[in-house]
């Protein structure tokens, strides 16, 4: 990517430390024994049955699991969008009661506002009270970070799927959160764009040093991106195992270590890979 150098030069200060240089230690998110039941007309459907795991500071953790297993539900609970019945979710030692600007959610299908320009979307989280000069500086910095300079005034429907997803990342990063929650953020993209966006998110994560919690059903994606991969069971879901992923970046999906990791995750999911 030709503008990588520029991006590093303009990256927010204090965030340029690659996460891998210094292994993360402190617990950022602590999920303990979370239970949740969906109430439907046909009765109660238990979705989460004692989900427990931790995400460390500056860590990139991926949760993988079969479709409909409740991975998005646990992420919504962690983000404070949905209530749960029992257990606890703490971020920085504080229980989560509502969403916060310090923890921004990146949606499965782009959640950027179609009626706002790229500039306005990225500036949305900064609030209306912020003076224009200051806002413009921040917005332009993140427009550069995601490589969308020249598209400030474009409306989302004039952008490709990948560009929209970049706007969404920029909007999330502009409020300088500690944590990014990624709910299958590349789900709606085509295969090639998805590959490109994975590189992009790793670059952004390394550049900004955010804690990232990714939910996906794509095992390869999880193995490419995450420091650790948490594998969920079918519904009602628990975490089966959290597999550390020490592979050096950039990662090559064709190397043996990568293939072994994937095989281990698939084995845990109980999926026969050969067609």
């Amino acid at each position: 990517m030709s503008h990588l150098g520029d991006v590093f030069a303009t990256a927010p200060s204090g965030a340029s430390q690659p996460a891998q240089a210094e292994p993360p230690r402190r617990s950022k998110i602590v999920v303990r024994d979370v239970h949740k039941t969906f109430k439907t007309k046909k009765g109660n459907v238990p979705v989460l049955e004692g989900v427990s795991f931790e995400v460390r500071e500056r860590e990139f953790l991926a949760i993988v699991g079969p479709s409909g297993c409740g991975k998005s539900t646990i992420l919504n609970c962690i983000a404070g969008f949905e209530p749960f019945e029992s257990g606890s979710i703490e971020v920085d030692g504080q229980p989560v009661v509502r969403p916060s600007k310090k923890r921004v959610f990146v949606f499965q299908e782009t959640g950027i506002f179609p009626w706002l320009s790229v500039w306005d979307n990225i500036g949305f989280g900064l609030g209306r009270a912020m003076p224009f000069e200051q806002k413009n500086e921040i917005v332009m910095r993140y427009i550069d970070l995601v490589g969308l300079r020249g598209f400030e005034k474009a409306l989302p429907n004039e952008l490709s799927g990948g560009m929209k997803q970049r706007v969404e990342f920029a909007r999330a990063l502009a409020v300088d959160p500690d944590i990014l929650y990624l709910d299958e953020p590349f789900g709606a993209l085509d295969a090639l764009t998805r590959l490109e966006m994975r590189r992009e998110i790793v670059r952004i994560w390394k550049t900004t040093g955010k804690t990232c919690l990714l939910v996906t059903h794509d095992v390869e994606e999880a193995c490419e991106l995450a420091d650790r991969v948490a594998v969920m069971t079918r519904r009602p879901a628990t975490i089966q195992e959290v597999i550390p992923n020490p592979l050096p970046r950039p990662r090559d999906p064709d190397l043996k270590g990568f293939r072994d990791l994937k095989a281990r995750v698939f084995a845990l999911l109980g999926v026969e890979r050969r067609v």
Partner: protein, 370 residues
Amino acid sequence: MKAFERFTLPIAGFAAFLALWYGVVAATTPAPRRPASLGFADPHDGAALFVVVDPEQHRVVSDVLPLDRAKRLDAIEKLRIVLGEHQPTVAAVPRGTGKSGALPETIEAAKNEFGGGLVVGEIEAQGEAAEQAERRALAMQEKRQLYETWLPKPHEAFAALFEMIPTGEMFRHIVASVMRVAIGFAIAVCLGIPFGLAIGSFARVNALANSLIQVLRPISPIAWLPVATLLFQGGDVAAIYLIWLCSFFPITISTAAAVATVDLKYRRSAMNFGVHGIELARSVLLPASMPAILTALRVSIGICWVVVVAAEMLGVEQGLGYLVLDARNQLRYDRVVAAMIVIGVIGLLIDMTMRRFERTELERRGLLRT
């Protein structure tokens, strides 16, 4: 569909409609009614000859009326018998008979007794007086074919329309109606959209207002007409109130429904950035609901235009609704239909304008689905 059909097919549609219109009117128009006619001549002094011709143009009766003042009552009685049977609408008074003063007086008295519809004219008695009187009566009858009031044929309606355009009369009525709709609709928009946003955004406002609106909404504005006329003493305010009423509920309900279905990810995005309450409504719920709101505006201004015609039938003296009613009262059905044509055309123009507005607005807001 071929390109030329885009133009020819609509024209064919209109032509078919005009043909149907013409056919229905032509087929249902009652036969002209030619009332009996009455002619007078002055054969000799002291008497007048009268002839009655029936609708089939046969001589029914002729007689000599004495013009003697003293025998006036007899003359009236004779006329009464004749008029009673044949209800003539034309009478010709021989010139010169006025000298005695008895005949015109006699006819006048008969006219008063039998009500209107008796047209009195004078004929000159020349030659054979009776023949002359009969010929005159026939000639009058030819001219005075009376039609029942009936629906105009297309060309008659358009003639009435083009008759009202240069005098500025039509323009005056159009302006009055358009102004009422503009004011009533503008008030409905200014109140309905915020109210709908409030209902859609706040559960308490919804609980408070929703059931009430659901009860008030199905009440036709026409049913409100008597109440509005009394409450606002008729006039413009009553009409504007009805316009407001018929658009306020659809706008409010559509806005509330649109807000309720705003994509959860937009709400959550906003919540995530700490945006809630009125700011959420203004910066997220309103723009996200805009496609549905714009459609509701277009539909409800259409309803307004329908209702304004009814609203103008009481207590106002201008406007297309007034024109329809007034023309009907004058039995000028050609004007009634001319007003209907204008109402249709302006309704179409309003809809086209709103569609264009809707499109540009969605385009500007990046919400146009392509």
